[in-house]
Amino acid sequence: MLSKNSLKRIITSAMAAALALTMTTAAFADEPYTAYNYDYWEAAIPSQSAYRVNVAVTGADMGLGRLSDPSDPLFISEEAPSSLKDAKDLYYDDDNDTFWVCDTGNDRLLRLDRDLQVTGCFMGVNGDSEIAVAEDGESKFDGLSGVYVKESIVDGTLFVYVADADNSRAVKCTVESDTKLKLVQEYLKPETKLYDSKVFNPSKILADAAENVYCVCKSVTAGAVQFSADGEFQGFYGANRVEVTAAVIAQQLWRKIASNEQIQGMKRNVPVEYANFDIDNDGFVYTVTEAANAQTDAVKKLNPAGYNIWDNSVGDEYKFGDLTTEYDATQNKSYKCRLTDIVVSDNGTINILDFENGRVFQYDKLCNLLCIFGTKNSTSDQEGSFTSPNAIEAVGNEIFILDGSKNDITIYTETTFGHYVHSAVALYDEGRYVDAKPEWEEVIKRDGGYALAYTGLGKAALTEGEYSEALDYFKTSYDRDDYDKAFKYAREEFLRKHFTAIMVIIIALIVVLILVKILRKRGVQKFLRTIIKGGD
C-alpha cells in the first residue's frame, strides 16, 4: 500500500512539474514589437528592446467615473462619459507632477496626477469672453487639441494654455478650482494683413519663458503664430522650407516662361506646416513635420530667433524616423513615416512619435539614434501597440503615449538594456568617455550589434591612449572619422617608438643602393681588385 502511495505521489508530482514547466513557457511574453536599430549603411538590424510595456490606462482606470457621480467633488454632469474620446494631446507639468489631457472628443480638459488618477476636469473657462458662452457664464471648449502648462517665472502662478481649435482661439488661464478655469488672456485670429490665412485653428500651443505664446495652426505654412503675453500678434516663428522635389523644380522652370495669368492658375510651392513642437528648459523649440516621408525639416531644433540649429554648416546630415519604408504584404500597402509628436525629456533625449507605424524613435542630444520601440496595432489588439498614437510624454524613465482610438494612455518603462544605454549616453554626451566605459560594456553584453557602444568604447580607449584598441572599436562601429583621429595618434606613436629602427633601415638601403651603383659602373672585378690591393 505504502509503495503504491509513494508511486502515486511521484507520478503526481512529476505531472505537476511537467505542467508547471509548460505553463511557464506559455506565460512567457515578449514585447509586442520587434526592436531594431539602423547601422552605418541605413539597414535595419535587430536590437534589444529598450522599453517594455508597463500598463495601459483607460478612462475607467483614471477614475473618470467620478465625473458623473453627484456625490463626488469632481461631479460635472450625470452624462459625463467615463472614457476618453479621440484625445489629442498629453502634457506633463513637471513642477506639479501632473498630467494634462485634451479629451478632444468630449470637449474637456483633464488633469491627472502622477499615477494618472483624475484630479480635475474643465469644460471651459470663466471670464471675459464672447465665444461659446453657456448659460452659467462659462465659455465652453470646442475641439480643444493642445495644452501647455507652465508656472510663470515672475510670480510662480500656474498658467494653463489651451489651443481651442474649433472656437478659433487659444486661451491662457489660471486654475480656480478642480472644475473651473479663469481666463487670463484670449488669443484670437490676428487682424493684420500679415496674417493671410482665412481661418485660425490653433492645434498645438507652447509658451516660452517670457510668456510669448506660439500656436501651430492648420493650413498656416509660414510657421507657428506668435503672440506676446498681452495677446498681440508678433509674427510667425520658424517656418519649414519647401522640400525640393522634381515637381517643384519643374514648376520653378515653368514659372520663368509662363505669363502672369498662367502663373496665377498654378499651384504655389508652400512648405508643409509642422505638426507639433516641444520646448526644452533652455528655450529651444523642437518641431516635427507630419507629412508622409518628409525629408526636409522633418525634425528641427529652433533657437529663439527661429533658426534651425541642426541645419548647420558642418555638413552633418541628421536623419529622423524610419529610413526605409515598410511594406505590408497582407494589405498590399507600404507604410511611410509620419512623425506626429516630439518630446524632449529631462535628460535631453529626444523622443519622436510616428503616427503611421506607432513607433517611438529615441535620439540623444547629438541626434544619435538610441532605440526604436512601439508598434502598430494589429487585429489581436495587444497592449503596447497603437492605432492612432497622438501624443507622447517622457517622465523619468517612463514614456507615456496617448492613443486617440484605443482611448488610453500606455506607459512604457525602460528595460535594463535601456537603462544602461541611457546612463552611458548621458556620460558620453558630456564627453566623459572613460566614465561611460563600464556602462557601454553592459550595453554590449546585451546587444553586441549596438554601434554607438563601440564608438563610445573607442573614444574611451582613445582618451586613455590605447590607440590600437580604439582603432578596433571604431572599425567595429564603422566610425571612419573617429578612426582617422585615432589613426593619427597611433601612427605618431608608432613612429616615435621605432624611430631608430626606421632610420637604420633607410640609411642601410641608401648605402646598398650606392654600392650597387658603384659596382655596376666599375665592374665587379675591378672593385674587388681595389679592395684586395688595400686601398692603393
Binding site: W41, L471, K475, R480, D481, Y483, D484, F487, K488, R491
Partner: protein, 209 residues
Amino acid sequence: MYEFSPMGWLKHCVFHPVEGFEDLRWKKQGSLKIAFGIVFLLFVAMVVDRQLTGFQFNENYVKVFNIVPLLVQSVVYFFTWVIGNWAICTLLDGEGTLKRILVYSAYSLVPYIVCTFIAVIFSNVLVQEESIWITAITYLGVGWSVVLMIQAMRAAHQYSFGKTLASIVGTLIAMLLILFLAILLLSLFQQVYVFGYSIYTEIAYRIRG
C-alpha cells in the same frame, strides 16, 4: 636603333609617351603575354583598391564582396574596348590589327595600375587631412594612362591627333552598343531557357500523371 628586352620595350613605351609606341610599331615589338599579364594586374588592382584601401579612406560597401562587377569593370571592359576599337578603326582606315590594339592598349594601362597600388599603400599610412597625396597620385595615374592610350591608338592606326580622338569617342559608343547587345542576348537566352524548362516540366507532369 633601340634593342630592348620585352620588358624593356614596355618601360620605353611608358616613359616615352611621344615616340614610344611609334618605335614599338617600327620594330614590330610588343608581347601578347605581357599584355595579358597587365590585364590580369588591372583586375588585381581593382580588387586591391576595393579591399585593402585604408579604413579611413575606404567608402565601399564592405558587407558583401562580389567579384563579378570588378571582373566586368576590368577584364570585360578592356576586351570590349579592344574589339570596339578594332571594329571602328577597321572602318576608318586604321592600320592596327587586333593583336596590336590589344598589346598597345594594355601597355598604356600600366601607369594607372601602378598608381592605384601606390595610392592603396599611401591610404594605409596617411590620414584624411593628407588625402591630397592620394588624390594627386590617382589623378597622375589616370592622366598618364589617358595620354598613353591616345598615343598608343595614334601609333597603332597611324591616325592624326583629331582622328584619334574621334575614333576613341566612336569606340566608347561601340562599347556601349556591344554591352547592350550582350545583355539583350543574355536575357533572350534566359527566356529561351525558361521556355524550354517549362515545356520539360509540362511533359514530365503529363508522363507521370
